[in-house]
């Protein structure tokens, strides 16, 4: 089959790879209907050392079950399913606590002999625990929104939930990428009173407003903190959803957090140490979040997507074929696309 392989920074190609086959009785093979390119893929695209063997890539997909192993129940060939961005058994004690990202049997797509999602098909380990059936036809207009349950919308939701977003809570979202915009939508869905989006790309923050942002701050760093403080009587907001991952974004997050408030981060940290000394302690600011266990949230978020109450798929502003993924990476790296949908 054809699949996307990254051979180094800036070097993504679509090449022939082995067709996926069942290896374990708990596996399934899924033909990919929709995949996507993620900001996390871009981190590799910007930094991967050259590697002749290459790395399979992509971790967001939905598709049709083609085959299931002998120990897989509840799934049959022809089912339309979505996969979270990490597979997991959904039975261990971590999965039971909703922390599928710490499942000992779980892992990341594209590693350890598991297919990446940006290809024609994927062998799915722990298929019964990983895959969630979607009650829509394969040509449903909802596919883009349903695909966001794999990662970005559920990741934004993780930020909002762990930050305690709800009615009467004020929220700042840092970052106007697909996750930041998804976090706005998630905060709105959870009933946040006010949502300020910190981002400076107007076409993106406009979508943030459509998703529920009540204010936008374009300034960054200390100036951005000052603006947010001015707008909140000097106090900051109860919840801060940090959707970037840089040290600057974390500093900004602490700067705009209300005393007693919570910073939840879902952008992969690009730092080893963070400013969690006396100021954060004295103000009782909590730092939470982490890699999002999206599997834990899919069933909860699904009805609102199916019934059209939220349209997280609006983050996709370009659709390409599988053969065009190199172009998709370029577009996202150059910020001419917010998020790219791949239709193999």
């Amino acid at each position: 089959m054809r699949a996307t392989v990254m051979f180094g920074a800036g070097d993504v190609r679509v090449v022939d790879v082995a067709d996926p086959q069942l290896k374990e009785p708990t596996d399934a093979v899924v033909r990919v209907l929709r995949s996507a390119i993620c900001g996390t893929d871009l981190l590799h695209y910007g930094a991967m050392p050259p590697d002749e063997q290459g790395m399979r890539i992509g971790h967001e997909f939905l598709g049709i079950v083609e085959e299931t192993g002998s120990e897989v129940s509840g799934l049959t060939a022809g089912d339309l399913v979505v996969a979270p961005f990490m597979y997991a058994d959904n039975t261990c004690s971590f999965c039971g606590e909703g922390l599928h990202t710490s499942c000992a049997r779980g892992g990341l797509w594209g590693l350890d002999g598991v297919d990446g999602a940006q290809g024609e098909a994927v062998r799915v380990p722990c298929a019964e625990g990983t895959l969630v059936r979607l009650p829509v036809p394969a040509d449903s207009a909802l596919l883009p929104s349903l695909l966001t349950l794999a990662d970005v919308f559920a990741t934004g939701h993780h930020a909002a939930v762990t930050a305690g977003v709800g009615p009467r809570k004020t929220v700042t979202v840092i970052g106007d990428g697909a996750v930041g915009l998804s976090a706005v939508l998630a905060a709105k869905r959870l009933g946040a009173e006010e949502i300020t989006l910190m981002g400076r790309h107007t076409e993106r923050t406009d979508l943030g407003r459509a998703f529920g942002a009540t204010a936008v701050i374009a300034e960054r760093g200390e100036e951005g903190v000052e603006r947010l403080r001015e707008a909140t009587g000097g106090r900051g907001t109860h919840a801060v959803l940090e959707c970037v991952g840089s040290l600057t974004a974390l500093e900004t997050a602490f700067g705009v957090a209300r005393d007693g408030g919570t910073v939840s981060r879902v952008g992969v940290p690009q730092y080893l140490e963070g400013p969690v000394g006396f100021d954060v302690f004295h103000r009782n600011v909590t730092l939470t979040g982490g890699v999002a266990p999206t599997r834990a949230y899919i069933e909860e978020l699904l009805p609102d997507v199916l019934e059209g109450r939220v349209e997280p798929g609006r983050v996709f502003d370009r659709t390409i074929s599988l053969e065009e993924t190199p172009e998709g990476y370029r577009a996202m790296a150059e910020r001419t696309a917010l998020k790219v949908l791949v239709k193999p």
Copy 2:
């Protein structure tokens, strides 16, 4: 009156100071019945630059109301009251959220013309919001335990509450000082399933066992982390109560936290930056806690103290007179006393 003044590292004296008088209509004057020396006082005792004027010190006291300002309701001369380690109005939006330590009208004892607690009497700003009446006589045997509501027991409780301690939760407490032992007692009171105390002073960890610790680990640093991991099937505990404040203690705390777990710190951080990078993110470990708003907890904890269900006053292992506070500081600095009770 006589009061304790710190003139620099290792230089504590009891001297004559002005008698406290009402300054604001919201003030009260309280004659001190019991005070205490705290680990936080010791930080100054170890590091304060020489200062001829000196600094009034002490932030834990209970006593008898002598006089109240014209705007103070609910308190009258003769009432026995306890004060939290910061005063606060108990009416602002932060106090309403249980975060009295961020009250704009609040502050610390001993600063800004406010008396320290290690003296004969104290002028209490925001008296109505700050003081809590204690329904016991002035010679009650419960006074030591009631005094811990000012700081250490309520601070341990803050750690436990913010870490989500409760039934079916496993807990590690780092530090066998008075706050660490109080955190053990608080975790036990909240129903924790297992409580491991990390500390190496046997006479202190013995009290920790009496307070509810189910295991003690004497090793520190990486060795301590390994021991705790071994004891928990490699997983760590849901809650970690960090009651020291050093960077090593914070590193240990993250090391023993279960994925998805919470580190709550109540020891004043002796660091500017902490290790909150990818590992903590990937494991979804939360960092919370902070300076404890003990005022928020006094009413909740009071009945259990009054009815003898908890005896947090057992952390006091030495009682001295006010004139002996210099000796009390020495004893705590040399670790010959765990926590010193001062009876003016």
